[in-house]
Every structure is written in structure tokens, then in C-alpha cells.
């Protein structure tokens, strides 16, 4: 590139047209400078396989209890897989492995990856397994795929995630389950009758899937509210961020930027082709809501939290060699990634704060090298708290041990197409959406490096650097 420009400079000097020459000179300087600001030209390393994202798709993310209400989780995952097959045209036996992430497991399809793959028409010779890591389950699916490829075990892996909150396993009480299991083993009628007779009204109260963190018995919303308070995030700041998310998502949707969304004909229902949770409101409307978790003085409300969502996503990950050999034009390189974990009580949602500097250090990049930021928005308060944590000298010095400047260095590049607050957050599926969005934004906005960061229940977190594939 540079030599080409130099050539044109030379030709320029003999050319009488100074205007053209000057503009080219300016262009040269601009390009030169923009290259110089990056700490590294590429993250490719000798001896390390280049692993690429070939394609990423997702079903529309819908508020739970809406159009997907009568499906099962593997149906959604199947739709995403079929969408991927359709979009890539990859032969159904050309994939080596399939991995899915999910959080709340449907007990009938506990290995939802396998059920969905079979249903989507993939060859039954392709093994599939399911991973779970709360809100970063599909991140784990993707990085597992990266691991398989890097280790030379596979060349092409499909990773994805699914979450279905319209239906969750509600169990009988432990007492009732015990009685029922004993009933199975009862040999005589007398034994059976006495067991049936032992059932009390209390046995019949059902057991809902836990919404609270197991280790601390605190719900995530409650923890988010405390986190926001710890970092002095006001209600107005949270509402403003939520409004920003919805506004940007609406704009992206209207402008057709959400190319990863596939259309899905829901059995007995219409074709769904759009996310249905994007609802830009006004600050006044949002201010009217009462706090949802900490009453009456809390700041986290229904409007500044992500909502319960149904949805599935899928990505095709390959070694660069294989992708090129199969004639694909990859979207992006998947580069360094980290997982972090911290105190699940007071730092439950600070994954990005810990993950971001760590992954940047690994990659040898700084915040200013990153052109595209995609952070998982669990709560507006959580996002703001993470940005403030990265900015806080006290937190950097006393808790975190790493100083990094947050909001100012990323705000103009941050979640520009909306985020989990507005697009929706199917727990197991969000990670693939983040990575695919980074790839698409890098293509659209012309940047080189993107950063994904997310928090997850259990006080865990994930961050990954993505590099644009040369166009």
C-alpha cells in the first residue's frame, strides 16, 4: 500500500495537477498515521493457527412468552443451525463438531446441541456437546471450538447458543420427588398405598428454577443494584444508557444493519424476522418505573435491565486454511481470549472490568487500538459500573490491580447497534451475537480490532479480541 502511494507521489511530482497531488499526500499521511496508532499491525503469530469466523447467524430474539412460546429449546437451536447451513451452503457432513451453550436446560434435551444438530439435518456422524457457563455459555462454545481447531483436532466447528425462557423446568418438591421415586420401587400394593397416603399438601408446592445466585442466594438484579450504588451510578445515568441502547438498536434495525438475523417460520405461527424487544421510550416514561429489586430506594428497574428472551445463535468457525480451501471469504479472525472470575457476591457483574485489560495485555493492544466495542449489557447499571470501575483510580489501585481508562476511550465505539438491553438476552445465545456483531461492525465501519466482553453469573467473565479479515 505504502509503496503504491509512493509511486503515485512520484508520478504526482511530475504532474502539473497539484491539487490531486496534495489530496493524495493528505491521504497518504492519514493512512500512515492511522496505521501508526495501532500497537500491532496484526495479531497473527508465527506458528499459531489463524482461526476465522466464517459466518454468524441468529434467530430473531423475542420477549419470552411471545411468538416462540410453544416451541422447545432445540427447535430454536435447530432454526439457527438451518439458517447457518442455508447462509453458508456448507455441506451437511463438512463440519467436524458441533458445540452449543445453554443455561437453563430442558431436561428432555439436556444435550441440546446433539438434538438440534440431528433435527437440523446435519450428518449423524458429527459429534455434538453442550456447555454451560451462565451468560457466557456460547462464548465458551466458541472458544471450545477455537481450542479444537488450534489443537488440530478439527478444521470446521459449529458453535452456538440457545435459551428458551418461555418454558422452564418446574419440578415437584424434593419430598414429592422422593415419594414418587420410592413409589417406583414399591413392590406391594400396600407399600404403594402407604406411600401415596404419605403425600401431604406441602409435597405439592412446586420448585421453580432458582433465579438467585446459588452461592450467595442473591438475585442478579439485586446484585446489580448494589453494584450500581457502589460505583455511584445514578438512576438517570442508567435510564440514559438504556435509552441509548434502545435508540441505537432501533436505528440499526431500521437501517438493516442486523444482518445476522435470519427469518424463521414458526410452526403454526407467522414468519418471524425481527427482534421484538426494541422499544425506545423517553426519559420521562422510564423515570416513572419503580425499582424492581431494591425497594424503595433502588435504581435498577425493568426498563434499564435486560428482559427474559427466547433465541438461538450459531457461528461457523474454521481454520483459515480450511475456509479458504472451501472457498469461503472469512469475516474475522478470532484472536486472544480470556476467562476471569471474581467474588460472586460484591463483584458478580464486573467480568468486563477484569477481562478487558487482561485480554488486551495478552494481545499486546491498548484501549485505543480497539475500533469496535461490544459489551454484554445485562443491566444498564452494570455497564456503567464497569466503565466507572475501569476509570476509578481507587478501584484500580485497591482491588483490581490494573489501570485502564474506560468510558472516554470507548464510548464513541461502544455497542453502536444496540445491545442485550434492547436486542434481548437469551442467556446461552448472546455470546455468538456479540462476536458476529463485532465482525459485521468491523466490516461496516472499517476498523481493524474489536473487543467482546461479558459478565456472567457466578462472578465470571469473558473477553475476546477479534481482528477484521482483510477485505
Amino acid at each position: 500500500m505504502a509503496s503504491m502511494l509512493l509511486n503515485s507521489m512520484r508520478s504526482c511530482s511530475v504532474s502539473p495537477s497539484w491539487a490531486v497531488c496534495q489530496s493524495l499526500l493528505l491521504l497518504y499521511c492519514f493512512l500512515f498515521l492511522s496505521v501508526q496508532t495501532k500497537s500491532k499491525k496484526t495479531l497473527a503469530r508465527p506458528g499459531v493457527k489463524n482461526i476465522v469466523l466464517v459466518e454468524g447467524v441468529r434467530t430473531p430474539f423475542l420477549l419470552s412468552g411471545t411468538t416462540y412460546a410453544d416451541l422447545m429449546p432445540h427447535d430454536l437451536a435447530r432454526a439457527a443451525l438451518q439458517g447457518l447451513l442455508h447462509k453458508t451452503g456448507i455441506p451437511k457432513d463438512a463440519v467436524d463438531y458441533i458445540i452449543y451453550g445453554t443455561v437453563i436446560q430442558e431436561v428432555k434435551t439436556s444435550n441440546v446441541a446433539r438434538e438440534a444438530a440431528l433435527g437440523a439435518g446435519f450428518s449423524d456422524k458429527i459429534p455434538a456437546h453442550t456447555v454451560t457457563m451462565a451468560c457466557i455459555s456460547s462464548n465458551q462454545a466458541m472458544t471450545s471450538a477455537v481450542g479444537l481447531i488450534a489443537a488440530g483436532q478439527c478444521d470446521a466447528v459449529v458453535a452456538g447458543g440457545v435459551e428458551f425462557m418461555s418454558d422452564v423446568p418446574i419440578r415437584h418438591s424434593r419430598k414429592m420427588r422422593k415419594t414418587m421415586l420410592s413409589l417406583n420401587r414399591a413392590k406391594t400394593l400396600g407399600q404403594r398405598l402407604s406411600l401415596i397416603g404419605s403425600i401431604r399438601l406441602a409435597h405439592l408446592s412446586p420448585e421453580l428454577p432458582a433465579v438467585a445466585e446459588f452461592s450467595t442466594a442473591e438475585t442478579m438484579g439485586h446484585s446489580a443494584d448494589r453494584l450500581a450504588a457502589a460505583f455511584g451510578v445514578s438512576r438517570v445515568e442508567q435510564d440514559e444508557f438504556a435509552l441509548r441502547s434502545h435508540t441505537l438498536a432501533k436505528k440499526a434495525q431500521d437501517n438493516g444493519l442486523l444482518q445476522d438475523v435470519i427469518s424463521f417460520k414458526v410452526p403454526n405461527r407467522d414468519i418471524v424476522s425481527k427482534d421484538n424487544g426494541i422499544r425506545p421510550s423517553s426519559m420521562e416514561q422510564m423515570a416513572k418505573l419503580k425499582p424492581a429489586f431494591i425497594k424503595p430506594h433502588g435504581t435498577v428497574t425493568a426498563a434499564n435491565s435486560s428482559f427474559l428472551t427466547d433465541g438461538a445463535s450459531a457461528v461457523l468457525i474454521m481454520s483459515e486454511e480450511k475456509a479458504l480451501a472451501m472457498g469461503y471469504k472469512p469475516k474475522a479472525y478470532l484472536r486472544d481470549f480470556v476467562y476471569v472470575s471474581q467474588d460472586p457476591k460484591d463483584q458478580l457483574l464486573l467480568g468486563p472490568t477484569y477481562g478487558t485489560p487482561k485480554v488486551l495485555e495478552r494481545a499486546g493492544l491498548s484501549m485505543s487500538d480497539i475500533d469496535v466495542f461490544e459489551f454484554h449489557e445485562a443491566f444498564a447499571g452494570q455497564i456503567m459500573a464497569n466503565l466507572k470501575a475501569m476509570d476509578s483510580d481507587w478501584f484500580a489501585a485497591d482491588v483490581h490491580g490494573k489501570e485502564i481508562k474506560g468510558k472516554d476511550s470507548c464510548w464513541s465505539k461502544f455497542n453502536l447497534w444496540g445491545g442485550s438491553l434492547s436486542l434481548g438476552h437469551p442467556f446461552g445465545a448472546t455470546g455468538c451475537r456479540l462476536v458476529t456483531t463485532v465482525a459485521h461492525r468491523l466490516q461496516k465501519e472499517g476498523g481493524q480490532y474489536g473487543l467482546v466482553a461479558a459478565c456472567a453469573a457466578g462472578g465470571q467473565g469473558h473477553a475476546m479480541v477479534i481482528e477484521a479479515y482483510p477485505q
Binding site: 453494584l227 450504588a229 460484591d346 476509578s392 485497591d398
Partner: protein
């Protein structure tokens, strides 16, 4: 291993640090700060904040200075017409309790002004809000508290023989109802923030925060202040109602309470309960009932007057002096006077997973210390590990800890049958069978395994530590740590040092004990050390009393009515008749006829028949699982008949029997001080009360001698001596005190 019942509840600090917040609409951006030493006042936006904090001590004393400054600040705030509302945020306060009626009345006046403040006052509470702090808080119009474990509310005055003397007896019943108010004031127990909210003691809770822009503690207090300021604004804007809509249950309860006879029934029931539990030995609970009754039945003027007068009276009682003495003693025995040990004990190994061993493990694992519990049999180990699990699981059931915390605490425990891991142990505590040969074998086995710095502690209740140390290659690392059963309930730890025990070893043992939450006395070596040695003569006397034909129930009645929380016969059953026999025999050999009295054969025969006390189901009493009422074991009648003694009517009145029991205990305690086993009378009092259940209202054997009069005690003992001989010969130190009435153990 002495059993007994916790003599006193936790004598908590009467502490609180406070704040007050006031609103001023006219002064928008200015911040005024009047610097006084204890109370300062600053305007934040449109709210004024008054912070109360005593710079001179960790816990604030509701002192004269504090009261004066508080009154000044309040006057300034009230005088300022711009001030619309006010709220007081109380964080840690304290009521030093020795003040009298006038002080009480001044407190009452100040809190009355606060209660009637034309500008609503909100109290915000973080940390202990006890005693005067609580009375301050309940005088405010609104209360916000942090939902932290450290935040507790309570009126512990009763534990100091006092009553809440600044309006507490008058305001609490109105706020939480008669039954709850009585419960709080008569037990003095700490109430956690969430419970306080349910009771209506606080209006709103604030969650403690984690690290954020500041340290968790700082930021939590800021947050509390922010929420409290919002509350103050809300109250003025009428967004927050001060009077809560009463629920149906509350209405029904109020209706029922409106009948005089219902209230009278409550007073009667409570009075009865107090009399039953305190045997009438403690005046404070009765005075509390009286004050509440006066206030409710005759109105506030009479109520407040009764409160201040009774407060003044109680402050001068010997019971209050005794309880306050114990409080100070307890504080003193929670300090390590041997300084910081060279290295912290991070890995503790316990030999023997019996009741004691597992109990020690239980109080250690939750302090972040890696704990090895070793036994010789799998069955013994399983029982011990189950005991630790159960102890923690009971806390989970009571919601003191979550099941997750329980599991994570248990991860510090390693149960094993071999010596693996002992090479990393910083301290080994042995709780194996009380046999000098076994102890010697254990010392040698352990010393072959552990690193050179490792301390060897013996949890023996009577074997001299120097005898155990005789088998050790490094006697400077050998020490006694005498725990009391049940370890998780009994607060006392008696640490025994020999001439050879190094100071660092002692410092380390004390540090471990303090970590375990113990109140610690450090005593010299000798048969029975201090506690066992005091108890043995009393039990010997008890056996004699039984032999003289006094029924075990009657004996129990005589001891409990003297103030012992557990009767002598029951205590013997709890300790174990076999242990008692063992100790009686050992100490009898060591001290000779002075430890005589009852015939040891009585105990030995009981053991032979399997009557080993509660643990075997039969002792002086018959214990049946599930049955609370226990009958006297009919079979011991024959034994006692066999060893029957004829009582001497001159020294067999109820009172004489009581003094025979107590004087032997007290004389032995004084002798321990005389011989240098005890370091101070204070430690002697704490050991006797917290380890053996010596009547708390008497404050311990030494305070008892001071208040009863050494001369009077000696006189009684001389009478008994004339009949029974040297068991009642007063020791020299006691005689010295009897001769010179100006000599006191406690100044």
C-alpha cells in the same frame, strides 16, 4: 471438661456512632461545618448532616460532653428557620452505664426534644446500635439501617443490671408492642437488622455494598447517608408517611391490648417468667417490668419518672456492679497480654474427634484456619465430623450462614486417621483420653511428625501440664488449653502454662483462642489448674450433702437459688460422674484431706453401675430422649443409703448448705490467687463465672468476697471447720482480707 451453662449472654458493647441529617432548602450549595470534638453538623445541599463520633474512643460514650454538644447542635438546627427537616443517622453509639438518675433525666430530656422535633429526624444505623444508641434512634421519627451482619439493635442494659434509662422503657412498648419490648429489654439480646425491620423497629434497610469507588465500609456509609437524606426529603414532601397503615393482625393485637386485664395478664406472665429464671436474684428485670407498666398504665409523666428513678437505684446495686465488673473483665480477657505471636497459626491439628476435639474443630474451621481432625477409628472420626457439620448446619437453619458458606467453611476441615499433613501443622491440640500414658505416647508420636515451631497443646482438664511435658523434647512448646463443653457454647478457655512454656507459645495459644472467640484466662500449672480445682471441693461437698440425705432435686434447688445457672447434681451429670470421680480421686491424691468431704466411693459405685451422667442416660437423674422432665434416678437411693452420713443440724439449714458449697469453692479460688496459679482476681472471677457458672449476680468468687465481706465468710467457715475439719479452713489470703476490711480484691 467442665460442663455448665453459659452464665451470661454476650455482654455486648454499648456502642454506636451517630449522624444526624437536616434539610435546609435555603442554603443550596454552601457547606457549613461546625467543628466540635464529638458532634459536628454540616449542610449538604438542602439537608443538614449531624455526625456524632467520639474521637477519643472506638466506642462512643454518651458522655456529658457528647450530650452538651448534641444539645447545642440541635438548638442551632432548631433555631434556624430555614431548616425544614432533620434526620439523625446513628452509626455506633454507646451508653456508659454508671450514671444515675440525673443523667437519665437529661438523656430523657434530650431525646424528648428529638422526638418532638418540628423537623422530622431520620436515624441511619450502621454497626451496633445498642443501649443509649438505640434509645436515641427510637426517639427519631424514622430509622434506616444497613442490612449488615454488624448492624445489631438491642437494649443490653439488663445484662449490666440496669435498664434503658433514656426513655427506652417508655418508647419501645409503643413501637414494637408489649411482648416484643419485654423480650428485647429483659433478654438484652441483639436484634439483626432484618428482624428489626419485621418488628417495626426500623423502617427501611440498606444493603451493604462491595468495593466500588471507595472501600466497602466507606461507600456503604455514604450510601446509607444518601438514602437517609432521600428519606428526610420524602418525609417533608409527604411521600413517605410516618404513620404506617396498620395491618389486620396489628389492629387485632392493638384491640386485644386495649383491655386492661389482658395487659395485666402479660405483666403477670412476664413477671412469673423472670422470677423463675432469675430466682429473684436480679433486680433489673423486675424494675424494667415496673417501668413499662407504670408508663403504659399511668401515662408518660409517671413512666419517665419511674424510669429515671429506677435507673438511679439500679446503678447503685451490687448486682449491677458485679455484672459491670464481669463486662470489663470479659473485655480484658479478650485481649492478648502476651503480645503478637511470632507466627500465626494457619494450620491446626486436633487429636481425638470426641465431643471436645470436634467442638474445638467447630470453632476453628470457620475462622479460616485449616483444621485437621484426627482420630484413631473411622467410627470416631465420622461422629466427630458429623458434629462439626451439624454445628454449622444448625447455623444454616437459623439463617446465620448460607448453605454455601457452610460448605465453604467445611472445606477447611480435613478428617483423617493418620498423621499426614502434620508436617505443616503450626499447632496440635490433643483431646485424647485422660490417661498420662496415652498422653505421653501422643506427645512422642506428634513430635516425630510436626515441624520444629509447632506448638503442642493439651486439652486436659486436670492432668498437670508439666507431667505431660515430661515426655516432650521441647517443653517450651507445650501448653495446656482447657476448653469447656460444649465448646461452641461455652465462652471460656483456660490456658495453662508451665515454668518452661515460652512466652511466644503462650502468645500463640491466646491468639488461637481469641480467634476462636473465647474469653481467656491464663493460669499457672498444677493439679486441676484453676477451674477444676475450684469445682472439685464444691462437688465433694455436694456429694456429702447427698450422703446426708438431701434429695438431688433439693440440692439443685439450693444451688440455683443461690444463683448458679445449673444445680450441683445436674452439673455432676453434665460433667459426667466418671469424670467427676476421676478428678475427685486425682485431686484428692494431690491435695489430701482438704479435698475430702463426700465419699469418692459414692461416685465410683455409680460409675460401676453405669450411671455416668447424661451421656449414659442415668446419673443423679434419669434422662429419657424427648422428655424434658427428669426424675431422680431411683437406684442411687440405695447407694446413698449405703454411704449414709448423719447431718449435723447446726450446719444443715438451707442457707448453711449453700454456704458450705460456695465457701469451699471461693476459698479454693482465693488459694489459687495466693499460690500464684491465678494472675489476678479478675481472671479468677471470669473463669468461675464463664467456665463454671458461678452466680453472675455475685460477679465471681473474688467480687463475692469483697461484697459479702471476707470476715463474714471466714466466720461461717470457722463454724463449718469446727464440725467438718480442714476442708473449711480459710486460706491465708482470705484471712488477711478478713482481718483488714480495707483490703479488697477489686478496687
Amino acid at each position: 471438661k467442665m460442663a455448665g451453662v453459659r452464665a451470661l449472654g454476650v455482654l455486648s458493647r454499648l456502642t454506636a456512632r451517630r449522624y444526624a441529617l437536616f434539610t435546609e432548602d435555603d442554603i443550596e450549595n454552601s457547606v457549613f461545618a461546625w467543628s466540635r470534638t464529638h458532634v459536628n453538623y454540616e449542610v449538604k445541599g438542602d439537608v443538614a448532616v449531624v455526625r456524632i463520633n467520639d474521637p477519643s474512643s472506638k466506642v462512643n460514650t454518651l458522655s456529658v460532653q457528647m450530650q452538651k454538644e448534641m444539645a447545642e447542635v440541635m438548638n442551632e438546627v432548631w433555631a434556624n428557620n430555614a431548616v425544614q427537616r432533620a434526620d439523625i443517622n446513628m452509626i455506633q453509639a454507646c451508653n456508659s452505664a454508671e450514671e444515675v438518675t440525673k443523667l437519665s433525666q437529661e438523656g430523657q430530656k434530650m431525646f424528648e426534644l428529638i422526638e418532638k422535633s418540628p423537623k422530622p429526624i431520620v436515624a441511619a444505623i450502621n454497626g451496633s446500635c445498642l443501649g443509649g444508641g438505640l434509645e436515641f434512634a427510637i426517639a427519631c421519627q424514622y430509622r434506616v439501617a444497613t442490612k449488615s451482619k454488624k448492624t445489631v439493635l438491642g437494649t443490653p442494659e439488663v445484662m449490666l443490671g440496669l435498664l434503658p434509662g433514656a426513655g427506652g422503657t417508655q418508647r419501645l412498648p409503643k413501637m414494637v408492642g408489649l411482648p416484643n419490648a419485654f423480650d428485647m429489654m429483659l433478654t438484652g439480646r441483639n436484634i439483626r437488622a432484618d428482624k428489626a425491620k419485621k418488628m417495626g423497629l426500623v423502617h427501611q434497610l440498606v444493603d451493604p455494598l462491595g468495593p466500588g469507588l471507595k472501600s466497602p465500609e466507606e461507600r456503604t456509609i455514604d450510601y446509607l447517608e444518601e438514602v437517609a437524606i432521600e428519606c428526610a426529603r420524602g418525609i417533608v414532601n409527604k411521600k413517605i408517611p410516618l404513620r404506617k397503615e396498620k395491618g389486620t393482625m396489628q389492629k387485632i393485637q392493638d384491640y386485644i391490648m386495649s383491655f386492661g386485664f389482658v395487659r395485666n395478664q402479660i405483666y403477670k406472665t412476664v413477671h412469673g417468667k423472670v422470677m423463675k429464671q432469675s430466682k429473684g436474684l436480679y433486680p433489673a428485670p423486675l424494675k424494667i417490668i415496673e417501668c413499662v407498666k407504670t408508663g403504659v398504665e399511668q401515662g408518660p409523666v409517671a413512666g419517665y419518672l419511674a424510669e429515671s428513678q429506677n435507673f438511679g437505684q439500679l446503678a447503685r446495686t451490687s448486682e449491677s456492679a458485679a455484672l459491670i465488673g464481669l463486662y470489663h473483665g470479659q473485655v480484658a480477657c479478650k485481649k492478648n497480654r502476651f503480645g503478637a505471636p511470632e507466627r500465626e497459626v494457619k494450620s491446626l491439628a486436633i487429636l481425638g474427634a470426641g465431643l471436645m476435639g470436634a467442638g474445638i474443630a467447630q470453632v476453628t474451621v470457620d475462622k479460616g484456619v485449616h483444621t485437621i481432625l484426627k482420630d484413631t477409628t473411622e467410627a470416631g472420626l465420622a461422629r466427630g465430623e458429623q458434629q462439626v457439620y451439624k454445628g454449622l448446619n444448625d447455623k444454616t437453619k437459623k439463617k446465620n450462614i448460607t448453605s454455601f458458606q457452610r460448605d465453604s467453611i467445611l472445606s477447611n476441615l480435613t478428617g483423617q486417621l493418620d498423621y499426614s499433613g502434620f508436617e505443616k501443622a503450626d499447632m496440635v491440640i490433643e483431646a485424647v483420653f485422660e490417661d498420662i500414658n496415652i498422653k505421653h505416647a501422643v506427645v512422642k508420636e506428634v513430635e516425630a511428625m510436626v515441624p520444629p515451631h509447632c506448638i503442642f497443646a493439651s486439652n486436659t482438664s486436670a492432668l498437670p501440664i508439666k507431667d505431660i511435658a515430661a515426655a516432650s523434647k521441647r517443653p517450651d512448646k507445650v501448653i495446656g488449653m482447657h476448653y469447656f463443653s460444649p465448646v461452641d457454647k461455652m465462652q471460656l478457655l483456660e490456658i495453662i502454662t508451665t515454668d518452661k512454656t515460652s512466652k511466644d507459645t503462650t502468645a500463640s495459644a491466646v491468639a488461637v483462642g481469641l480467634k476462636q472467640g473465647k474469653v481467656i484466662i491464663v493460669v499457672g500449672d498444677g493439679p486441676g489448674f484453676y477451674t477444676t480445682r475450684c469445682l472439685a471441693p464444691m462437688l465433694a461437698e455436694a456429694v456429702r450433702v447427698l450422703q446426708e440425705g438431701v434429695d438431688p432435686k433439693k440440692l439443685d434447688g439450693l444451688t440455683t437459688s443461690f444463683g448458679f445457672p445449673v444445680g450441683a447434681a445436674t452439673l455432676a451429670d453434665e460433667v459426667g460422674i466418671d469424670v467427676a470421680a476421676h478428678v475427685a480421686e486425682d485431686l484428692g491424691k494431690a491435695f489430701g484431706s482438704r479435698f475430702g468431704g463426700g465419699n469418692v466411693e459414692v461416685l465410683k459405685t455409680m460409675v460401676d453401675l453405669g450411671f455416668k451422667g447424661r451421656k449414659s442416660g442415668k446419673g443423679c437423674y434419669v434422662y429419657q430422649p424427648g422428655l424434658k422432665v427428669r426424675e431422680v434416678n431411683p437406684e442411687i437411693g440405695d447407694i446413698l443409703e449405703k454411704y449414709r452420713l448423719t447431718p449435723n443440724p447446726a450446719v444443715s439449714s438451707d442457707s448453711d448448705v449453700q454456704y458450705r458449697l460456695v465457701s469451699r469453692f471461693v476459698n479454693e479460688a482465693v488459694l489459687c490467687l495466693q499460690e500464684g496459679i491465678l494472675n489476678s482476681p479478675l481472671e479468677g472471677d471470669i473463669g468461675a463465672v464463664f467456665g463454671l457458672g458461678f452466680p453472675p449476680c455475685l460477679g465471681g468468687p473474688f467480687r463475692f468476697v469483697d461484697s459479702f465481706g471476707a470476715d463474714k465468710l471466714v466466720e461461717k467457715m470457722r463454724t463449718y471447720e469446727a464440725i467438718y475439719g480442714n476442708q473449711f479452713t480459710p486460706c491465708q489470703l482470705l484471712l488477711d482480707h478478713a482481718k483488714d476490711s480495707s483490703k479488697k480484691f477489686h478496687k
